[in-house]
């Protein structure tokens, strides 16, 4: 079968991906300091930096949403159950026997069914929960011209705990994601693709 080098990740997509990676790492690191696990920046700085990074991430996400709708790339994330079993089988068994990937990567369908499902879950559930609770966290009390006002929120507890759950889920995702990078055609082909945008795929 002939292989051809094609641009599979657009420049914006790569920029979005790496910025998001950087921000999420930073948010996790500063966030778990705020959570009380260790002291690095100092509480006040950790909160300030965490908030700045949060704004940056929100802006990035807004741009990403815009890009996905304009380019129609959002369709990549529609979950599908076809081949999901084959994909699971591949990760559980096939991968150890050098079996071929069960789904073909193409420009129009660059995510495998498991990726689609996971990313869909992140986009529709985890990230919205983390962003919403994060915004409430920041603005349940807000300064106004006449002093400080507050939203009618009885307790921060639910907001804070949901935010923490989101953080753990994202972190677990990152661990798995970092490992799964190595499961491409060669251990480094996925990483190369996300850096250069180009990957050799079958015609």
């Amino acid at each position: 079968m002939a292989k051809k080098l094609v641009e599979i990740y657009k420049p914006f997509e790569r920029f979005w991906h790496w910025m998001q990676a950087l921000l999420i790492f930073f948010l996790a690191f500063s966030g778990f300091e705020i959570h009380g696990y260790y002291s690095f920046f100092g509480f006040e700085n950790a909160v300030t930096y965490h908030n700045i990074a949060a704004y940056m991430l929100i802006i990035l996400i807004l741009f990403a949403i815009f890009w996905h709708f304009v380019t129609g790339e959002w369709k990549q994330y529609i979950p599908t159950f076809t081949n999901i079993k084959a994909q699971l089988n591949y990760y559980l068994f096939g991968i150890f026997k050098n079996a071929p990937h069960p789904t073909k990567k193409t420009v129009l369908s660059k995510l495998n069914p498991l990726q689609k499902l996971t990313y869909f879950g992140l986009k529709i559930l985890v990230i919205p929960v983390v962003v919403t609770t994060g915004l409430l966290y920041m603005f349940y009390r807000y300064p106004t011209k006449h002093g400080v006002q507050s939203l009618n929120i009885e307790s921060l507890e639910t907001i804070a705990i949901l935010h923490t759950i989101g953080a753990f889920l994202l972190l677990a995702f990152i661990i798995a994601h970092l490992y799964l990078i190595t499961t491409g055609e060669t251990p480094s082909s996925n990483l190369k693709a996300m850096l250069t945008g180009e990957e050799e795929i079958e015609e």
């Binding site: 002093g147 307790s155 799964l180």
Partner: protein, 533 residues
């Protein structure tokens, strides 16, 4: 091919630049909320202007005639200030009581006159001694304040010569041999020392009661109090405790019950005085004092515990005292044993400005737990409440276990044999007479009960460099707010379940991918061997 790559690179770079610029603009406009930066400058300007008296009292003839006693001075004052006595006689400094509304019991008249505390317990029956801090020249034998205006002690508040002094055990009369002419000619606005002569010594000694009001506040350093520091803004008490018609703003919650006429920092500083919104947003639930008074009793110790039950021990038939290394009494035969503290971190409670009180004669509902004498009301859920720093004073004080009421003992008398505890050391006698004076029943039985009082810590404000740091509350261990568990604080609180489950999730994910990876490596080696073999 190469050209295409360069073009792509250019596009990519341009894109990053555009995004960064937009981010910078958005961030810049989001963070440009500025509170008037000049508030502090304006205040400094206002308070650095020295007060110039409008008249020189030395020049008044009426103050040059030789005074025989303090009443003649008051008369001389009234010859010009001829409507002032009415104001003074309406003040709580004169009446020693104030109309207060207590939730659940209605209007009460409460003050030094009738309140019970857990220091020297109460003034009733002991006026001869306690009235040294009354703004009159003498309580009469029955504990009644004279209605005669010449009994007003103008000088205790207005003496600016710092030579006026009231005598001990004389119901408010001044010491003898004072140069009353010098004093009368010196009069002016009350200085720190005028207020301090009583307010620094409440409870029978320097800093016994408040913890943050003491003789070091006469001429404090900036470390002790940033506002009143003599080398700084040198504020006087009345610069904050604004006074109109001899009614001084601010009140003490050992008597006060309603959220009125309080003094607060935002009088001058507004309720959003910080540059950072993050800090300002705290002011909704946290009082200024909670962060800006990191420690109190900075110079001299304050009393934390008072055990009346050990009072009355004698050595060779005589009362004695024991002191600690700092010179604080740890035991006095007349008063019992004490625990003192210095450089203390305050305790913190929710407070909405209202309080309820144990009033003399109230039945003690539960004698097996600490009896709170002044309950400060408030909670996280209460929108009016803020976290305030307090000193908690615990005492073991006498009560009647049959009638279940606190005892107001007769403590002071001039001579032995009148039944006063401080002379005769007999609880039975002192209680009998004291309760009779107070018009309360006494069963003849005496026991001791632990009582608790809350003292708001409002003074000894530190410089902004020395405020409580974020991580002193936002921390899992030894948080200053460890005692306030009715709400969630980031950094202090967490869901144990979520933290444990989350940690397991991370660990299992890691182990999962690690073993998956290991298996892949092992298998690929095997496959290679098979191929090669």
């Amino acid at each position: 091919m190469e050209l295409r790559k360069v073009n792509k690179m250019k596009k990519f770079l341009a894109f990053i630049i555009v995004i960064s610029v937009i981010t910078a603009i958005v961030w810049g406009s989001l963070s440009s909320f500025d509170y008037e930066p000049t508030t502090l400058m304006k205040l400094k300007d206002k308070y650095s202007k020295k007060h110039k008296p409008k008249v020189d009292h030395k020049k008044f003839e009426v103050l040059q005639a030789k005074f025989g006693n303090a009443r003649e001075v008051t008369k001389a004052c009234e010859s010009c200030h001829n409507l002032t006595s009415a104001e003074v006689m309406e003040s709580s400094h004169w009446n020693w009581e104030r109309e207060e509304y207590i939730q659940g019991r209605g209007i009460v008249y409460l003050g030094k006159k009738n309140a019970i505390n857990n220091f020297c317990i109460g003034t009733q029956g002991n006026e001869q001694s306690c009235a040294k801090c009354h703004i009159g020249l003498g309580y009469d034998e029955n504990g009644q304040i004279y209605t005669d205006s010449t009994n007003i002690d103008c000088l205790v508040c207005h003496d600016n010569s710092e030579t006026y002094a009231k005598a001990a055990g004389k119901a408010g009369a001044p010491e003898e041999n004072l140069d009353l002419n010098l004093i009368a000619q010196s009069v002016g606005k009350p200085k720190r020392s005028n207020c301090g002569v009583c307010h620094f010594y409440g409870g029978g000694g320097n800093n016994v009661k408040h913890g943050a009001l003491e003789s070091a506040m006469n001429e404090p350093t900036k470390e002790i109090d940033i506002h009143m520091a003599a080398e700084g803004m040198n504020l006087q008490c009345i610069d904050c405790h604004l006074t109109e018609n001899h009614k001084i703003s601010g009140k003490l919650y050992s008597f006060a019950s309603t959220c009125t006429n309080r003094n607060s920092c935002d009088q001058c500083h507004t309720n959003a005085p910080h540059d950072k919104d993050l800090i300002n947003s705290h002011t909704l639930k946290v009082s200024c004092e909670a962060c800006h008074i990191p420690i109190y009793a900075k110079e001299n110790s304050t009393k934390l515990y008072w055990d009346w039950s050990t009072a009355g021990r004698l050595k060779d038939g005589k009362p004695y005292e024991e002191d600690d290394s700092l010179g604080n009494h740890t035991y006095l035969s007349i008063k019992g044993s004490f625990v003192w503290g210095k450089n203390l971190k305050p305790d913190y409670v929710w407070f909405n400005g209202t309080a309820s009180h144990y009033l003399l004669g109230d039945k003690i509902e539960n004698t097996s737990q600490d009896l709170v004498l002044n309950q400060l009301n408030g909670s996280y859920k209460d929108r009016e409440s803020k976290i305030v720093p307090v000193k908690i004073h615990i005492a073991k004080q006498p009560y009647d276990p049959v009638n279940k009421i606190l005892i107001q003992p007769k403590l002071y008398a001039e001579t032995e044999g009148e039944g006063a505890f401080w002379k005769d050391f007999n609880w039975q006698k002192a209680s009998e007479i004291g309760m009779k004076d107070a018009g309360l029943p006494f069963s003849g039985k005496i026991d001791f009960i632990e009582t608790k009082m809350f003292w708001l810590v409002n003074h000894m404000v530190s410089s902004k460099e020395n405020v409580v740091q974020c991580n002193e509350c936002h921390t899992r261990t030894d948080s200053r707010l460890a005692g306030l568990s009715d709400f969630y604080i980031p950094g202090r609180d967490y869901s144990k379940f979520v933290d444990v489950a989350g940690s397991w999730l991370l660990l299992l994910t890691f182990l999962g991918v690690a073993s998956h990876g290991t298996l892949r490596i092992i298998n690929s080696r095997k496959n290679k061997k098979v191929k090669n073999g």
